[in-house]
């Protein structure tokens, strides 16, 4: 197979993918959900078939195009309807409340207590003895953890300075 043919196919696939990504919105890259990941894997396989001329370019364009159209249609559906969004993406799962791990949420997310400790260390800088600072920790639909702290555990802000006794004097 001539190198220039591979080059042409790669350029075609690259430009087409770039256009599809550009038109499908930036969320694909920054806020990948589980079905975004599946889409990326399928697209990767389709690219491979095109690069080595295993399928005609038209089949690649139709298959990749329809996948991205479906993805955008689902994303628009999620934007328009909360119920549909929950059905497609799932709901955030509470895994820690008032410093105590919730077994039901952890089982649903297949998290062990060690996994939870690791996530809290990585994403909220919280050691196990600081878990009581957490009001609520969720595993979001994109797999990221979000942590809400109790009021008393939040970092001091400029407005808090005025409340200090020394500031009043």
């Amino acid at each position: 197979m001539a190198l220039y043919q591979i080059l042409l196919r790669v350029v075609l696939a690259y430009v087409f993918a770039l256009l599809l990504l550009r038109l499908s919105g930036k969320r694909e890259l920054a806020q990948a959900t589980s079905h975004d990941l599946v889409l990326a894997l399928i697209l990767g396989d389709l690219f491979d078939d095109l690069f080595w001329a295993e399928v005609p370019a038209s089949q690649f364009v139709v298959a990749a195009g329809v996948l991205v159209v479906l993805q955008v249609a689902v994303a628009l559906g999620c934007h328009a309807n909360q119920g549909f969004a929950r059905l497609v993406n799932g709901a955030p799962e509470v895994v820690l409340r008032d410093g105590k791990p919730l077994q039901q949420g952890m089982r649903h997310e297949q998290l062990s207590e060690n996994d939870l400790a690791s996530l809290l260390r990585q994403q909220a800088n919280l050691e196990r003895e600081q878990w009581s600072e957490v009001r609520c920790a969720h595993i979001e639909p994109d797999g990221e953890m979000s942590v809400l702290r109790h009021e008393w555990a939040k970092e001091a802000q400029q407005q808090d300075h005025a409340r200090l006794p020394e500031a009043k004097q």
Binding site: L12, L20, A53
Partner: protein, 141 residues
């Protein structure tokens, strides 16, 4: 909805571009699998016993008289002679307008590296295999 319309337009434009390269400029090897890729894929499908998929590489006329059962029988006879097929590599032959010849070089357990040659025709821009004489000969002798 605007996003979907733009996406559909992009897909349409890409298909139009590919169509004009194939039917307007006569591309037969870049945006469609070249004959040697068709030959290689066909033999790989046979080797992995996916006879229905293998049938899709045959021209309409040949596919009409060569069903998956025939391909299975042919493959089994070929494998009896060659032993296990260890690798398949497509080799370019010649292309003249709507006709071509290409080969699939096999790496086999018992017969070394025999070459299966196929003649191909081009319909609607896509190459398909026109005869199985080479594979029949390799299976018989």
């Amino acid at each position: 909805m605007k996003e979907l319309s733009y996406l559909l337009l992009t897909i349409g434009a890409a298909l139009a571009l590919i169509g004009s390269a194939i039917f307007g400029l006569g591309d037969a090897t870049t945006l469609v699998p070249p004959p040697e890729a068709v030959a290689e894929s066909f033999v790989r499908e046979l080797e992995t016993k996916r006879y229905t998929r293998a049938q899709s590489y045959l021209s309409e006329e040949l596919a009409a008289k060569t069903g998956p059962a025939t391909l299975k029988e042919l493959t089994e006879r070929l494998l009896q002679r060659t032993g296990k097929i260890l690798d398949v590599r497509g080799e370019a032959g010649w292309i003249a307008s709507e006709r071509a010849e290409a080969g699939a070089r096999l790496k086999t357990e018992l017969m070394g590296e025999p070459m299966l040659k196929f003649s191909l025709t081009r319909r609607a821009g896509v190459w398909s295999i026109n005869d199985l004489q080479s594979i029949e000969a390799a299976a018989m002798h």
